[in-house]
């Protein structure tokens, strides 16, 4: 397992400067609700604004409204957004995952229809994989899509579907035959289809982003099938390097960390400074790894094992950061605090355990890593 050392080029640094300049004005402190990384607030207007600047769908082909740029360029933009706790909730999944997946697996018509909307920040995607009886073991999925005239009829329930409430589309993995792995197919489903009901599942911190999605004879035209019938499983593993290796796996707490470093740590004496030093060093090390992964993707490789290796430890590290900063606060942070950083820290205390569950649990990732190492 070897990561190549790499740094940003002059052009990439220019992009970074441009993004900073814009975000410093667009997201002045206090003008937006601070978010924890990828679970930032939902703000379609903000998503459209950065879409109009070319900072969404950056690696999608230009022909379909994308930027035709590299994974590293995307990383440069994303880390600026996450550092500020920006309201990325509306576009996050489409930009990171569904867009690239449609670009890789979709028909010409699908690409023309979906990719420009993703790049403009108009479409919001949700991932419909998990089901009540099927989490880690996705091969056991049961929600069915049956052939009907002109398309598919979907029945069943998806759960833990982040953002389904405000989504325009759900990219769902569905059972199309009994065959364990090759009986799974992905459909791009309009969130407002008849028979599709979304019910929020109140989350531990009181937020309502987490949803149950039930399908009752929902009709999906065959033109919304992503790739071949039975190809869903393979398409899913292809997405994983994008989903798992990014800076979003260790930057959730960054707004709090930045604030703590600049305004509070020094008052905590040597113990706080030592913790700050350790956290900084590890952030720097993780950043190098995420950047290295993005370069691998740009080189046409599929660093699935590397991405799993990072995510497994980065999500534990994020959780450690929450514990460290809370410890130095000296009391339990208050969700209702007037200090936005304290209330964000309070939310982090509550939701941090989920960071090593979403996107594949750490237990599952360890198996992925070991298989990769043995290859």
């Amino acid at each position: 397992m070897r990561f190549d050392a790499t740094e940003l080029t002059a052009e990439e640094l220019d992009l970074q400067a441009e993004v900073r300049e814009y975000l410093d004005k667009r997201l002045t402190p206090g003008s937006y609700p601070l978010g924890l990384g990828m679970s930032g607030a939902v703000d379609p207007e903000f998503s459209r604004d950065i879409g109009s600047r070319g900072w969404l769908g950056m690696s999608l082909p230009q022909k379909y409204g994308g930027g035709g740029r590299s994974a590293v360029d995307r990383l440069v933009v994303v880390e600026e957004l996450l550092a500020r706790g920006a309201p990325v909730g509306y576009h996050w999944i489409g930009d990171r995952q569904s867009g690239p997946s449609i670009a890789a697996n979709g028909t010409e018509e699908q690409k023309q229809h979906f990719l420009p909307g993703i790049a403009r920040g108009e479409f919001s995607f949700s991932i419909g994989m998990s089901e009540p009886d099927s989490g880690s073991d996705l091969a056991s999925l049961r929600t069915r899509a049956e052939r009907v005239d002109g398309g598919w009829k979907v029945n069943g329930t998806k759960i833990w579907t982040t953002g389904a409430f405000h989504a325009t589309h759900i990219l769902a993995l569905l059972r199309t035959s009994a065959d364990k792995h090759s009986g799974l197919t992905q459909l791009i489903i309009d969130r407002h289809s008849e028979g599709l009901t979304v019910s929020p599942i109140p989350f531990i911190d009181g937020s309502e982003d987490f949803c149950e999605v039930s399908f009752q004879d929902v009709f999906v035209p065959d033109s919304r099938r992503l790739g071949d019938v039975g190809a869903g499983w393979g398409q899913n593993t292809g997405e994983l390097a994008l989903e798992r290796g990014g800076v979003d796996r260790w930057m959730s707490l960054m707004p709090v960390l930045e604030h703590w470093a600049a305004h509070q740590a020094a008052d905590g004496g040597p113990a706080a400074l030592a913790d700050l030093g350790s956290i900084t060093a590890r952030c720097w090390a993780f950043r190098g790894m995420s950047l290295s992964i993005a370069r691998m993707v740009d080189a046409g490789r599929s660093p699935v094992t590397e991405a799993a290796l990072i995510k497994e430890m980065a999500t534990r590290f994020e959780q450690d950061c929450v514990a460290v900063v809370s410890r130095h606060l000296g009391r339990a942070p208050d969700l209702a605090s007037e200090d936005p950083y304290e209330s964000l820290l309070a939310r982090a205390v509550l939701v941090a355990p989920s960071w090593s569950i979403r996107g594949g649990t750490n237990e599952i990732l360890r198996t992925v890593i070991v298989k990769g190492l043995n290859r």
């Binding site: 790499t6 880390e79 960390l257 030093g277 060093a281 090390a285 790894m289």
Partner: protein, 354 residues
């Protein structure tokens, strides 16, 4: 094998890497390392390394070195550490670097440096008096290079009273006491942090390489060791140790590589501190995971693992312990305007106080 992407101007030399890897693989097996713990420096091995010019790789030929870049020096130290080579390679290189920085010729023969213990009492006027503590390979070295004030001072070990002692890996580590000893003093003043910076970096290089070796060794062992009718590698709980080892090694090696490249053009103080801190912390986790996965055999002297893990313990504490490094780094970060800007800066700089 190490490669560096086209996004950097510097690259590690794959031929050199292959050559030194083969050299140490052949010449520094477990028996050689064990014997050195009892008998001290294996002179045959040292002579063979000298013949290839290895101790002075990365030091300019004009000053008496073997030539090559810092990255070449890293390549040599890395291969040596992977095989726990019981040789003062890092120390000799470091002393050479100090000499060169001060405008002095690279010392001939085995050289070492004093890492700068807070107990040190050596001072110089025209001559040097006082004691230097915890000097690696002191007894085997011809000279010791130290920074006193802002000058590099080179002393003959023959003029010193040499104490006793070894580090946790059984490698010599002694005190040197001088009384009015004559010294060669560098013309150019040097940055007083030069020694601690390079020392911290070299120990990071060695630790990352040892972690790679520990990771490979453990992965191999658990796939051969059978319990309950199957290789223990098939148990998830054991796999977790394998994952930890791969994580710690790959993260450490990448940090070292990035810092090596940065050091080619600047002092890279931030990266050196961050790397030593991350690598030292990772070393402890690697040691625990590797021993746990090995069970009892890993604790025995006859088995290779302990030669590597004891070195990790020794190196972690040299040229900056974790608390000191973390406080120093944290103080710098707390004085800087923005943590994320620091992290995304290609040339992160900090106001550091030593």
């Amino acid at each position: 094998m190490n490669s560096v992407s086209q996004h950097n101007d510097y690259a590690f030399d794959a031929d050199l890497e292959a050559m030194v890897e083969q050299f140490f693989a052949e010449k520094s097996d477990a028996d050689v390392v064990a014997k050195a713990e009892v008998e001290g420096l294996p002179t045959g091995l040292w002579d063979a390394a000298v013949e290839l010019g290895l101790p002075l790789v990365g030091l300019p030929e004009s000053a008496g070195g073997s030539g090559g870049s810092l990255l070449d020096a890293v390549t040599v130290q890395r291969a040596a550490a992977r095989h726990a080579a019981p040789l003062p390679l890092a120390e000799t290189y470091l002393a050479g670097r100090l000499a060169v920085a001060a405008g002095l010729p690279v010392p001939a023969g085995i050289a070492t440096t004093a890492p700068g213990s807070h107990r040190d009492t050596a001072t110089f006027d025209v001559t040097v008096s006082g004691t230097l503590y915890d000097v690696p390979w002191a007894g085997a070295a011809a000279v010791v290079a130290v920074i006193l004030g802002d000058r590099v001072v080179i002393l003959n070990v023959a003029d010193a009273e040499v104490g006793d002692g070894t580090d946790l890996a059984g490698q010599p580590r002694q005190s040197l006491t001088f009384t009015g000893a004559p010294a060669v003093i560098g013309e150019n003043p040097v940055d007083v942090r030069l020694l601690s910076r390079l020392g911290a970096f070299l120990r990071s290089v060695q630790m990352a390489a040892a972690m790679e070796a520990v990771s490979t060794l453990t992965q191999r062992y658990v796939s051969e060791r059978v319990q309950f009718g199957r290789p223990v590698a098939q148990f998830q709980a054991v796999q977790q140790h394998i994952v930890t080892l791969a994580q710690m090694a790959s993260m450490s090696t990448l940090a070292v590589d990035r810092t090596a490249i940065a050091l080619n053009t600047r002092e890279a103080e931030f990266e050196v501190l961050a790397t030593k801190l991350v690598v030292s912390q990772n070393a402890l986790l690697s040691v625990r995971a590797a021993h746990q996965a090995h069970g009892a055999i890993g604790m025995t002297q006859e088995y290779r693992l302990q030669q590597l893990t004891r070195r990790l313990h020794a190196w972690r504490c040299e040229f900056g312990d974790e608390i000191a490094l973390a406080v120093q780094l944290g103080r710098g970060v707390s004085a800087s305007p923005s943590l994320p800007r620091l992290l995304t800066d290609p040339h992160p700089t900090l106001e550091l106080t030593s």
